[in-house]
């Protein structure tokens, strides 16, 4: 039987406010355990929450970016359950009246484009962390994260492949980082995904029973987790079994999902409106003032990259997805005055080095002005593309401008025709057998054979000879020998 996969995502995005959603404690990552938890975060008796308006502003920014209705009157509710890293015994969240209503994002994969509807996005507080190692059989509780503002973005079950799911997550990541409301650092948990996955026979209207894969923190794992889970569900059903509605955990090391808890174990969260917080009422003026501050969003920027820089859809999509990268790219364009060359380098040599060194583009040792300067030297034929890679490597490890490095290393390209001709003559003189083969070859095969002479000339000039000039001259001189 042919199966169709149905996927919906719940994405938790940590908002980059300075302080927590209901207290004045700092939200900075990585501090000593429990040093960023104040009386409110510890849920000391008598403490009360005070809503951080910045979180509201950021959530509305997201709502506007996904073309959503903004809730005019958002209500915080308490989700009650016991857990040691949940100090109050309830999580303050939104249920019936979220800050962001229905919206959508558009995604493109090899299968084409798709609109993913977003059911709503709501504000809530993060829990602390339970640490189960290093405590001799006991658990440690770190409440630094408790109270960090989150928006939970709940999609409709609109995705049909794992690739679409990861692409949707990438798009959300692009939006929140472009808006500057999230640092986008998935390794630190700034964005976490729960994937709801079910399968159904192709053509069937009704959804199958879904499982929820919890807390996936990379795009790659989203795809792998879904693929693994879909394979499990298909095997299960085809072997005559049924899928049980449950929460499952994806183990990336073993590439398998396993059951965490079944629906029967699910808590009754006993939601009710939080009496300590007033409904958050916003008017049109407030929303419009926020709209006026929105930066250019990834979709708009991608379109502009295509029209303004004549980039391919693919290149424009990659370069616009992450705001620091898009900003970097545009700075390189400004410095180099060559959009295509800039795209090739930012997505090629730079990306390769950033990946290899696990470095964010914001911390790139080569800045956009340096790279732009280097590209200029390619454009004006001071150096070849291959030499430029050497200059770049030097730039990456030692710093310096392209001109400084070219000067210091004597890498300036030889464009002087006389000098190049001299080297070509030497190469031809020292390669008699290759010249004979060249002459004996059919004229239409000769083009391929020119590579050998080219390599010899480059070797002799230390790669500095202008490749275009060398090719032209070589061809002319060799062909003259054949006449």
């Amino acid at each position: 039987m042919e199966w169709e996969t149905v996927i919906g995502l719940e994405i938790h995005v940590q908002l980059s406010t300075q302080t927590k959603i209901f207290s004045g404690a700092s939200t900075a990552f990585g501090a000593e355990p429990n040093t960023q938890a104040c009386a409110v975060d510890l849920a000391l008796p008598g403490t009360l929450p005070v809503f951080n308006e910045n979180a509201q502003r950021m959530a509305i920014m997201f709502g506007l970016a996904i073309n959503a209705e903004i809730g005019k009157r958002a209500v915080f509710e308490r989700k009650n359950y016991f857990y040691p890293d949940l100090p109050k015994g309830y999580q303050t969240t939104q249920l019936e009246k979220p800050v962001v209503g229905e919206g959508y994002v558009d995604i493109t994969t090899d299968d084409g484009s798709r609109r993913v509807r977003i059911h709503h996005a709501h504000l809530e507080e993060d829990a602390g962390k339970s640490l189960h190692e290093d405590f001799h059989g006991m658990s440690g509780i770190d409440l630094n994260r408790a109270g960090t503002p989150l928006i939970e973005i709940v999609s409709e079950p609109d995705m049909r492949t794992s690739k679409e799911a990861s692409e949707y997550a990438r798009k959300v990541h692009a939006i929140v980082t472009t808006l500057g409301i999230c640092d986008g650092n998935m390794a630190e948990g700034s964005m976490r995904c729960d994937c709801n996955v079910s399968i159904r026979p192709k053509g069937q209207e009704e959804y199958g029973t879904r499982t929820e894969l919890k807390n996936i923190n990379s795009f790659r794992f989203i795809e792998r987790a879904i693929d693994t889970e879909v394979a499990r569900q298909i095997d299960l059903i085809e072997d005559g079994g049924t899928v049980v509605q449950e929460t499952r955990l994806y183990d990336p090391d073993r590439n398998e999902t396993r059951s965490m808890r079944s629906k029967e174990d699910a808590n009754d969260y006993r939601y009710f409106p939080c009496p300590d917080l007033l409904p958050v009422v916003v008017d049109d003026e407030y929303v419009e003032a926020i709209r006026a501050t929105l930066p250019e969003l990834p979709d708009a920027r991608r379109e502009r990259f295509i029209s303004e820089y004549s980039l391919s859809e693919y290149d424009a999509g990659v370069l616009s997805a992450y705001r620091p990268q898009a900003d970097y790219y545009e700075a390189v364009v400004a410095a180099s005055k060559d959009a295509k060359l800039a795209a090739n380098w930012v997505m090629g040599e730079l990306a390769k080095n950033l990946n290899a060194n696990d470095t964010d583009i914001k911390e790139s040792p080569v800045n956009a002005e340096q790279l732009g300067g280097l590209l200029q030297r390619i454009k004006d034929n001071t150096i070849s593309g291959n030499i430029a890679k050497k200059v770049f490597e030097h730039m990456w490890s030692e710093g310096g401008t392209a001109d400084e490095i070219i000067e210091a290393k004597g890498l300036k390209q030889v464009t002087d025709t006389g000098a190049i001709e001299k080297v070509i003559d030497e190469v031809i003189a020292n390669s008699t057998s290759q010249v004979e083969q060249y002459k004996a070859a059919e004229p239409d095969k000769r083009g391929k054979m020119i590579g050998f002479f080219m390599g010899q000339v480059m070797k002799a000039t230390g790669g500095k000879a202008n490749p275009g000039a060398v090719t032209g001259l070589l061809k002319k001189k060799l062909d003259a020998l054949c006449d």
Partner: protein
């Protein structure tokens, strides 16, 4: 000296007739000598009191004294006090020393008040008799075999026995007014939001309100001037400007329109209390007030509505007492569930458990609409009853309680009969309205109270009417035998 009112003592301090240190020592001596009879204090703080008294005397010598400088106060033991046990009358918090001051406590400190100690109360403010206190019931100074009322019973008993000239209380369903009535003192529950709840351990957040308890309306005004006001730490506190509650005390009440709800003067009411209230009404008529009968038809519905909403909120508010971060923790828990269940089984008393169970049940998914939502609807109807009444009258008047103080143990096996004692007070909390209890006579040697109910933020009028009443009566000056 101990029989003097707060206002008289303020005058004596101002004139230099007595120093704060002398005054404080006199009250500390009385507490040490007499409180074993009343059990009205859970904790006394003589060292803090004498240090604050000394500082107050120095401030006065330096010409920096305010109205409240050097005046003693006792705080109900649910107001957090830095460095001093804040038990809430519970084993759960028997070992809890708050690291911070409640806003109310901080305001009294800033005004130069002297803290004598922390008063006894029903556990987590749940009760109408003080019998649910982990520290044993406080006793009514008028008859120590009887309850002082609750939950602010310790505060009421301490003021009635003249162990302190003033005490703070809190009122969720009558917890200031009912004990004030049963102990022959004056107490006011302000409009919800008038006094900050920050640092006041929550019972039912949408109903809780702190307020003054003292000998007279004039004294309550003095206290409310210190307590009232917006607090940015409490999102539900009102930003409305605070009046000088002492300023209008002597205004004439001629022309005041008083409404007496027929539902209050009903079969539920002890006929002897009805007589005393009628006599009180006569006094106000003599002062120029006009009186008419009104109707608050949903009065009886306030009991079921309250006993859904308050336990529902309490079940969530008390989740934080889990043995993880502070307070009682069971010995050698074998796992997490054991830690939770045993800690809470050992730490909470029967009435608290009863309300947590009722509230948890009411919020469960299948029952939420039938109970919690229905109760909220009733709550709005009750509010509408009051608002309709305030179109016709300036003030509503009736009894505070249906009966005088009952015997300790009398209602222990009948919680519903205990709940019925709150029939006249609960509806104000549901509506958020201000109300006060003023002594209006005795029934068989036991004091009874007359309840004045005002429109929102009409505390100044309530205090004015009560003060005028107390100018022509002396019930508030009467004390138990031997005081």
């Amino acid at each position: 000296m101990h029989t003097k009112s707060l206002t008289e003592l303020a005058a004596d301090l101002a004139s230099g007739a007595v120093s704060s240190t002398e005054l404080t020592q006199a009250y500390l001596d009385r507490i040490a000598a007499l409180d074993s009879q009343y059990n009205s204090f859970i904790t006394t703080t003589p060292e803090i009191a004498l240090a604050q008294a000394k500082a107050a005397d120095e401030a006065r010598a330096a010409g920096q004294a305010g109205t409240y400088t050097g005046l003693p106060i006792a705080h109900k033991d649910l107001f957090c006090t830095e460095g001093v046990r804040t038990s809430c009358g519970s084993k759960m918090l028997d070992n809890f020393e708050s690291p911070y001051d409640a806003t109310v406590v901080a305001k009294f400190k800033a005004a130069g008040a002297v803290m004598l100690g922390k008063t006894n109360m029903d556990e987590f403010a749940m009760g109408s008799s003080n019998e649910s206190s982990f520290y044993g019931a406080s006793r009514n100074p008028w008859d120590t075999n009887r309850v002082p009322g609750g939950s602010s019973g310790g505060s009421a008993a301490a003021v009635a026995a003249r162990l302190t000239p003033a005490a703070t209380g809190s009122d969720t369903g009558g917890s200031i007014r009912q004990p004030a009535a049963l102990c022959g003192i004056t107490g006011i529950k302000p409009t919800y939001g008038r006094v900050s709840r920050y640092g006041m351990v929550a019972y039912a957040s949408s109903l809780d309100q702190g307020g003054p308890m003292a000998q007279s309306a004039e004294d309550c005004a003095l206290m409310l001037n210190v307590m009232a006001g917006f607090d940015k730490m409490d999102s539900t506190s009102s930003q409305r400007d605070v009046e000088d509650y002492s300023a209008k005390l002597n205004d004439s009440i001629s022309g005041l329109r008083i409404g007496v709800p027929k539902e209050y003067m009903s079969d539920d009411l002890d006929p002897l209390i009805a007589e005393r209230v009628q006599a009180g009404i006569k006094e106000l008529e003599k002062l120029g007030a006009t009186v008419k009968e009104i109707s608050l038809p949903r009065t009886r519905m306030s009991i079921p509505a309250y006993y859904i909403i308050a336990p529902a909120e309490a079940s969530s508010n008390l989740s934080r007492f889990d043995g993880v971060r502070y307070g009682h923790r069971c010995e050698n828990p074998k796992d997490l569930m054991d830690l939770y269940t045993r800690t809470r089984k050992e730490g909470f008393g029967a009435e608290v458990k009863r309300r947590i169970m009722v509230g948890t049940y009411a919020l469960c998914a299948g029952y939420y609409d039938a109970y919690y939502n229905k109760a909220q609807q009733i709550r709005r109807l009750i509010q509408q009853d009051f608002l309709a009444a305030f179109n016709e009258v300036d003030l509503i008047l009736g009894p505070t309680t249906p009966h005088p103080a009952f015997k300790i143990g009398e209602k222990n096996n009948d919680p519903v009969s205990m709940y019925m004692e709150d029939i006249f007070t609960l509806s104000l909390n549901l509506a958020g309205l201000p109300g006060m209890s003023v002594p209006c006579g005795t029934v068989e040697g036991l004091p009874v109270g007359m309840q004045l109910i005002g429109n929102y933020f009409d505390e100044a009028r309530l205090l004015n009417v009560a003060h005028q009443f107390q100018q022509v009566t002396d019930w508030h000056k009467q004390t138990p035998a031997g005081i």
